[in-house]
Symmetry: C2
Subunit: 553 residues, 2 copies
């Protein structure tokens, strides 16, 4: 069995059905082995950056390992951004790259043509990165790298293989043991104890629920315990249609969610990093009013200092199972839930503006099997808000933590292959430009991907920071150095259908289409929390009487 055969066999065993990359000399043996197989497919990207995003889109949606590969030199350096993104968002991606030289001399500028110290470059943005220079080490390292990617808090790993190893025979190996171990559940006694005295507890959920596939269980737990659920933004798709879910919190949060957060006396964070701006004046009262219990899977996250909190390192699925088994409840649930419901009723229809209207209308029209893939910028905030208002339950992918502008085309491609179902890609005019070359992939393969371009002819988020800070704009609007192509002609160049947005255009997504919605370029991101305001007091501000009444509940 050759190295390439072993690697591809192992990928198939782990359930990866698709691989993305661009061929180059040192990885051809790997590509040809993929090409030989019926049970896994290799796809050609047009920029390695998009191969990486395709792999992370696939991994995010399926929870399974997915591979991006690249040839040495510029091929591998082009993967840095999607790898850092996958690291930030915990996506299990295996990067396969290769080299020709048996060793790297770190004291010289060149060891050989296009040779790099790949491990040194990537080690701070991967869970594991290893250079493999012998067939003997190959099977152990492959298994180890893949295990690390998919166990514990997931994330990218990298193998940089001596090219000749792909074609060498590799030795038999014994099965490799898991390299991670986890704490047994120890949090439930503590949670049950704290719930005895809590009057207003909430569950604060995050992407960890998806990562541990505990979506149905958290929904059941909320129903049984009668404890309301809030989430971070980008996790609005965990239990969106549950009556016990009240939206996402944050500086651009759903107003009723921030209100509920402000009233909580016990926050049970399940698979949520508590990444909202904890050091701001707006959120400081939260830590003064509420005790926080954190269930964390990642020891490195557990080290973050969160005031007034206690952290347990556990798999959140185990925690929820144990809480379900213990049949938790608390005494004052009826009054607290009725307050939460009143806030939702009073505030739900507020805070939806033109871009959100369009998106909400679009989301209501799509089928349940469509994955929504978001880019970065104002468009993603609009998309999150519209998602809540549309009352849908589709999966929604983001570049949550790393904010990798331009990621959405690549992630859409990956999401399609992970689901074999249509994708609605929501992007902005700057993000779409950043990786527009990948329209070739989508157009050539006739993928059922609809791209909703919210074109405000500007780099909206940075423009607003510029306006606030300097009172004038540079490089972020038409006339200040920024500009956009003719997107209709761009779509045409790639053989992709184009239309301006109209209601119902997404009812059926069965081939590539670019749908452009022109957005007034002066629409800023709202609502948001003005500096110094409490988190529930977002601008545009509520009628003062109503605000005071709701604030006192």
């Amino acid at each position: 069995m050759t190295g390439a055969e072993f690697l591809v066999d192992h990928l198939v065993k782990l359930g990866d059905t698709d691989v993305f990359g661009i061929p180059g000399g040192v990885v051809l043996d790997f590509l040809y082995e993929l090409d030989r197989r019926e049970d896994i497919s290799a796809h050609l990207s047009f920029h390695e950056q998009c191969a990486g995003f395709a792999a992370s889109g696939y991994a995010q949606l399926s929870g399974k390992l997915c591979v991006a590969y690249a040839t040495k030199g510029p091929g591998i350096t082009n993967l840095l951004t999607p790898v850092a993104d996958a690291y930030s968002d915990g996506s299990p991606v295996l990067i396969v790259t290769a080299h020709s030289e048996k060793s790297i001399d770190k004291t010289v500028r060149f060891t050989g043509e296009q040779e790099l110290d790949t491990v040194d470059i990537f080690k701070s943005v991967t869970k594991y990165a290893v250079r493999i220079d012998s067939a003997a080490a190959f099977p152990f390292e492959i298994k180890k790298a893949c295990s690390i990617a998919i166990e514990g808090r997931k994330g990218p790993v990298l193998i940089d293989v001596l090219s000749s190893v792909f074609s060498e025979n590799i030795p038999d190996i014994k099965s490799h043991e898991s390299v991670m171990s986890y704490e047994p559940v120890s949090s439930t006694d503590y949670i049950i104890e704290r719930l005895k005295t809590s009057r207003r507890p909430i569950f604060l959920i995050g992407d960890g629920i998806h990562q541990s596939a505990a979506e149905n269980k958290i929904r059941e737990l909320a129903d049984k315990s009668n404890i309301p659920v809030l989430s971070s933004r980008c996790s609005e798709d965990v239990m969106p249609t549950s009556d016990m879910y009240f939206g996402y919190i944050g500086s651009h949060g759903i107003r009723c969610a921030n209100f509920i957060l402000s009233k909580a006396d016990l926050i049970i964070a399940l698979g949520n990093r508590l990444a909202f701006p904890i050091n701001s004046a707006s959120f400081k009262p939260i830590y003064e009013n509420a005790e926080i219990i954190r269930i964390e899977y990642d020891e490195s996250e557990a080290k973050r200092h969160i005031p007034n909190s206690r952290c347990f390192i556990e798999n959140v699925a185990d925690t929820i199972n144990e809480l379900l088994r213990r049949d938790i409840c608390y005494t004052e649930s009826d009054m607290w839930i009725s307050i939460c419901k009143r806030l939702k009723n009073e505030l739900f229809e507020s805070d939806i503006n033109i871009p959100t209207h369009i998106l909400s209308e679009a989301f209501k029209s799509i089928k349940d099997n469509v994955t929504i893939v978001n880019d970065v910028g104002n468009n993603e905030f609009w998309s999150s808000r519209a998602y809540i208002h549309a009352g849908i339950s589709n999966r929604a992918l983001y570049s949550k933590c790393f904010g990798a502008l331009g990621c959405s085309l690549g992630k859409s491609i990956g999401a399609y292959y992970a689901s074999k179902a249509p994708v609605l890609c929501v992007t902005g005019d700057q993000g779409l430009q950043l990786n527009s070359q990948e329209l070739q992939f989508i157009g050539m393969h006739r993928l059922p991907i609809a791209i909703l371009l919210l074109n405000n002819s500007s780099s909206g988020m940075i423009r607003d920071r510029e306006r606030n800070r300097y009172g004038r704009v540079v490089h972020t609007t038409q006339g200040s150095g920024y500009g956009t192509p003719d997107f209709e002609k761009l779509a045409e160049a790639y053989g992709i259908e184009y239309t301006e947005y109209t209601a119902g255009v997404f009812t059926k997504i069965d081939s590539p289409i670019l749908v452009e919605a022109m957005i007034d370029e002066d629409i800023a991101l709202a609502p948001n929390i003005p500096k110094g305001n409490k988190c529930q007091n977002l601008a545009p501000e509520l009628d003062k009487k109503l605000f005071d009444e709701l604030d006192k509940l």
Copy 2:
């Protein structure tokens, strides 16, 4: 004086007139300081990758420091490829990026939103990378980083600045001493001694001649000493119109140059890395027949083992000056030069095929002030060969060592700003796709950049490797997974004129134009050296009688 003011002042002092990047929150103070000044301009790119290539194109052409900047997170990771390219090719680029958190905790996955250990990622592909967290350290570090970039063997440096330092007042500092020092010239006695017994010496020149601005001096030295000059590929623009220059060597070299190399008994390498495949059977006889004297500026290069060679660490401009002063000559020059000239006469017209014909015709038609910027792939080899055949003297830029596919649009933008003169960008269909978003920059600013697209509808170089190795192709041709957009419509989307190639289309380049030349997709890269052949015996092979006759000269 604020940090941003100090930095921009220093850049202006060093002669940088243009800066490329994409704004983001942490670098706005730097951008606004650039925007305030009359003597330096900031330009918006559409992908940071192209901002980096624009800076290196500017630096390669002008020899001056040029800046690319990026915001934290994905902004900076998008710069990795052009930075590695600038490191490989010795381009003095300053990367300016910034962060928000005062420290990085390497034991956790996140220190803060989009925060990275930038120095750790970039240190192996920069001459110097530094994190600057205080105003006190700022001026010293700026001067140090810029000095390192432009002194000795040039290359990229990176400063990752705590964002608030840009707006803080910085302390006065004393002038900073150069951090590098160089050997005095010690090679000339040795060279003169060896020339006494050499019958067939050559100068083998490389990019170091450009780097040390010694183009006129090497030409003078060749004329005075009567020693023929060969170069590496990508350095054919150093003294192209000199009678003493006989072309570039290598596995795809100019046939007469490889013949001359095979006959040399003394190779004096001036600013040339000796990067051709020295371990191959084809070039092994060179090291057995000739003694090699290396003049190197980079100590790390000097460590490379080159058989039968002696290395001196010197600035090549100093070496050449000293050789001129010493009035070197050798005794048997007439016979040797007449052999070289006969080889050139017999072989010059061979080995020019259709793509080379088109390029040669195009090159002959351009004005002297036009810079030729090349991408990566078969197209660059055709371009090099055509350059020699066209007999022109324009500057020609490449991604020489790192081979960064897709670099040419960015480098063309930089070359335009460095020269304020037209650019002819030669690229292929895969390279153009990789960074096609930058057509927006070129189209929007109406830059005088003509793009000559050699469209063979394939990834030609890898396709040929696949054919040789596997007998069939994957992902490199239409029908095997690769494809191209409609480039005419693509140009139109960006407001760029489009035409099919015709003779004379480049006579005047005063606005953006995409010129497409359709190349038969089956044309392989030729001539080349079949495995095992001597370096002078390229395929397609010469008539055996002629070969034997020339080989015996």
